[in-house]
């Protein structure tokens, strides 16, 4: 006759509500609150990644497959026509996603490994090593990186490896500065001191004590550096000293098809062809910027307005 429980325990009631949210649930909640621009960025970014990963499955032809008609029009068989030696442009756009983004991603990873590692060491060490590294970075940053990259490429030649190494080293200067600046604030914390007194090695202190605490700015910086590296590589390839043919790459595709633009009066589609790879570059950069903006807002409460 008495349907209510005999005794009332607040803890029991609270316990029902206090189920911890899973990681997926938390991500979903954050996504639901994300602005339209972030959604747009995330969708574009995932589409690019899918295209890059599954390029051979999505592309109708081979990367360097040559057809008889050069500068062919947009038609059934070749959605965006063919280029100056008769390669299918749609196919090369798809492969370009893989090559351009892949090389930019590897370069950014390498630049974070170099710049981030040295930055952490400099922040922990704070002695002559820090001085030497910081002054070296000052000098390297005094030369515009595109100019420096051009000079080094003229010496080492334009191979993919030298491209990756040169740009990664030039770019790591900025990563070094950021890592050092944020890590210095963490190094003075008591728990780092405790780890040092425990006798932990520098590797442990870097990985387990400092790195987790400086992750958010580094992740945001990764996005920005990626889009910067991506633009630099595209610019170098456009100038003809970056990724070399027959590898499909958006920067060099713009250069190769640029002459089509003068026929825009007669066939607007031909005029648009060289803009397609350029638009692909611009769209990716915009998307990355949107996502990074949103990430900075949610992770650090950084706001534009005062």
């Amino acid at each position: 006759m008495n349907e209510a429980p005999e005794s009332y325990a607040a803890a029991a009631e609270v316990a029902v509500v206090r189920k911890r949210r899973g990681r997926l649930e938390r991500i979903w909640l954050a996504l639901k609150k994300a602005p339209v621009s972030a959604w747009f960025g995330l969708i574009v970014l995932s589409a690019y990644i899918v295209v890059a990963l599954f390029a051979p499955l999505l592309a109708p032809y081979g990367e360097a497959e040559i057809f008889p008609a050069p500068f062919g029009p947009w038609e059934e068989a070749h959605r965006f026509g063919t280029d100056q030696i008769g390669r299918d442009i749609f196919t090369r756009l798809i492969y370009g996603a893989r090559n351009t983004m892949g090389i930019a991603f590897v370069t950014t990873l390498l630049s974070f490994a170099i710049g981030g590692g040295l930055g952490l060491v400099a922040a922990i060490n704070r002695s002559w090593l820090d001085q030497i590294l910081s002054r070296a970075v000052d000098v390297l940053m005094a030369i515009p990186s595109l100019i420096f990259a051009l000079m080094l490429l003229s010496i080492f030649g334009s191979t993919v490896t030298s491209l990756i190494v040169i740009i990664a080293i030039l770019d790591s200067t900025r990563v070094f500065r950021l890592t050092r600046a944020v890590a210095i604030n963490v190094v003075v914390m008591d728990y780092v001191e405790a780890a040092k007194l425990r006798g932990e090695k520098i590797g442990w202190i870097m990985r387990r004590e400092i790195l987790p605490n400086i992750m958010p700015p580094l992740i945001a910086e990764f996005g920005l550096r990626f889009s910067f590296v991506f633009l630099t590589i595209a610019a170098l390839s456009f100038l003809g000293v970056g990724i070399q043919p027959p590898t499909a790459d958006w920067g060099s595709m713009v250069r190769e098809n640029a002459s089509l633009i003068q026929f825009a009066q007669y066939d607007i589609k031909a005029g648009l062809t060289p803009l397609l790879p350029a638009a692909a570059i611009a769209l990716l950069t915009v998307a990355v910027n949107f996502v990074v903006d949103w990430f900075l807002h949610t992770s650090s409460g950084l706001k534009d307005e005062h």
């Binding site: 005094a142 100019i147 003229s154």
Partner: protein, 326 residues
Amino acid sequence: MHPVLATILKRLGLGVATLFVVSAIIFSSISLLPGDFGEAVLGQAATTETVAAFRKELGLDKPAPVRYLDWVSSVLKGDFGTSFSGRAASGVDRSRSVAELIAPRLKNTLFLAGVTAIIAVPLALLIGLTAALYRNSLYDRGVNALTLTTISMPEFFVAYILILLLSSLWPVFPSLANVDASTEFGERLRRIALPAITLTLVIVAHMMRMTRAAIINLLASPYIEMALLKGASRSEVILKHALPNAWAPIATVIAFNLAYLVVGVVVVEVVFVYPGIGQLMVDSVTARDTPVVQACALIFASTYIVLNLIADVIGIVTNPRLLHPR
């Protein structure tokens, strides 16, 4: 000594030191060339003697510090050495001096950069100031979205869109900016219209956003609120209270973007086939003509360093705290 003078001298000293180290780096790039580059330059048929003579001409038989001092002293006299192109295995030397190659092109580049700066700087400051004044208005949001889009686009994308619209579909301006010494001033302006507009769009976006951020940062400080509470008018607050402190960031913004122009000019010159120093550098990189690349890199890097130096000095000179020491 006046503290301002001391700070400026210190900064100038640092600038000279940086320039020195950068020149050393650029110089040492020639020693990084692979050992057989003499044959690569002179061709397959080069004999051991001609290669040895070539290496001797470059001074590779002397120790590096001596070569560096020689190089610096001749660069200061305006002599950048001779280009690698035009050399032949037979020892016949049709190469031209680097200075002779660079001089007319440097003039062209300075002309393009100058025209761009004259349009872009006032425009960016005006837009930046007004966007900061009416912030969060429709105007501010519109300008922000537009500039964010321009920044994200590579220069050559902007350039080709402009060519498509203003040269191909509606032929207003020529798509090739081929000028030479005989081109008249008016015609010259018309031909560089598209490259100048491209560069303007790119750097106005940067400059405007940075100016806006600098002013907004300043308007949030307590002393501005104090001035408002005292009853100062809006224009008085901005001109008398905010601007003296804003000169330093604004000068930095301008110099930074003029320095950015140095880099942007390379890509834009290639798009429009403009005979400037940027295009020369790219061509020389492809031809692996190291003396020319070195000279171009030195010019670009020193312009960049000097512009940043000027910005810092302006920042120091206009800093009210340094000007009125207690």
